[in-house]
């Protein structure tokens, strides 16, 4: 009877959603950033989630059905930046257009809500794990 696997899995969910929040925060903070160390405007970033099966070779059931989640990389948006007409901007090109980050505020806000909800669901899972472990411990009696 193993209740620690579920804790490990839920913890990985919390970490992954947190990382996703970090990325969303970075995107929101840099919505007007035109200069980056690599040159050019800030590019929208997205986390890539990957499922990692748990369980060693001895537990076939687990390795088929239970997976942690990991953020394996954070990719940059490959789309062209948005060109906005603003001749007075210090980074305007000769035609008066500024290359702005391709970040959609609505997309980011929805992403943030989704990450929050998923985070809370993982916290609920942890409460359930704790409750079951506690009940099992109670079997021994006072």
């Amino acid at each position: 009877m193993d209740l620690f696997t579920s804790l490990k899995v839920s913890a990985s969910g919390l970490t992954a959603q947190k990382k996703r929040m970090d990325v969303v925060s970075s995107n929101l903070a840099n919505v007007n950033t035109t200069r980056t160390p690599e040159g050019g405007p800030y590019k929208k970033k997205s986390p890539v989630f990957t499922a990692v099966p748990v369980g060693g070779f001895d537990d076939v059931l687990k390795s088929q059905t239970v997976s942690e989640v990991k953020v394996t990389e954070v990719v940059e948006d490959k789309r062209e930046p948005q060109m906005v007409f603003d001749p007075s901007h210090p980074d305007a090109n000769p035609d008066g257009y500024v290359a702005m980050p391709n970040i959609n505020l609505m997309e980011e806000m929805v992403d943030m809500l989704s990450a929050t909800k998923a985070y809370e669901a993982n916290v609920t899972a942890i409460h359930n794990s704790k409750s079951m472990a506690q009940k099992a411990l109670d079997i021994g009696g006072r």
Binding site: M1, D2, L3, T5, S6, V9, S10, S12, G13, A16, Q17, R20, V48, F49, T50, A51, V54, L61, K62, Q64, T65, V66, S67, E68, V69, S114, A115, K117, A118, A121, N122, T124, A125, N128, S129, S131, M132, K135, A136, D138, I139, G140, G141
Partner: protein
Amino acid sequence: MDISKIYGENIDIFKKVLDLRSERHNIISSNVANIDTPNYKSVDISFEEQLRSAADSDSGRGLKKTHDNHLPGGVRDIENIKPEINIDNSPSGIDGNNVDIDKEVTKMAENTIMYNAVAQLIRQEFDDLKYTIDQGGSK
């Protein structure tokens, strides 16, 4: 000695139910953790039918009765119940993920309640036993 003589007839079922429920909890936690993982499909296990038939039937009997006076023998085959894995193939979103968070959280609540109920039943068995032992010694 047959453990059920001390701990009650159904301790073998209770044990198995706790194991199965905790496996199912691991799986539901996995679904919740992977709610945003592309191409992840929701997984579940089922075991109620198998438990019921193993608990009810004579199918586990190891000994054959060839004469009416033979005593019934054999054990219920609870140990070897293998849960059935169901991979959900309901339609998924654009990223290939089909985990429904509301369904998962509800399943988890139900599973936890069932687990806690059986744990409590086991606790009760032990408490009754303890009471009996204590009372046996008192004047």
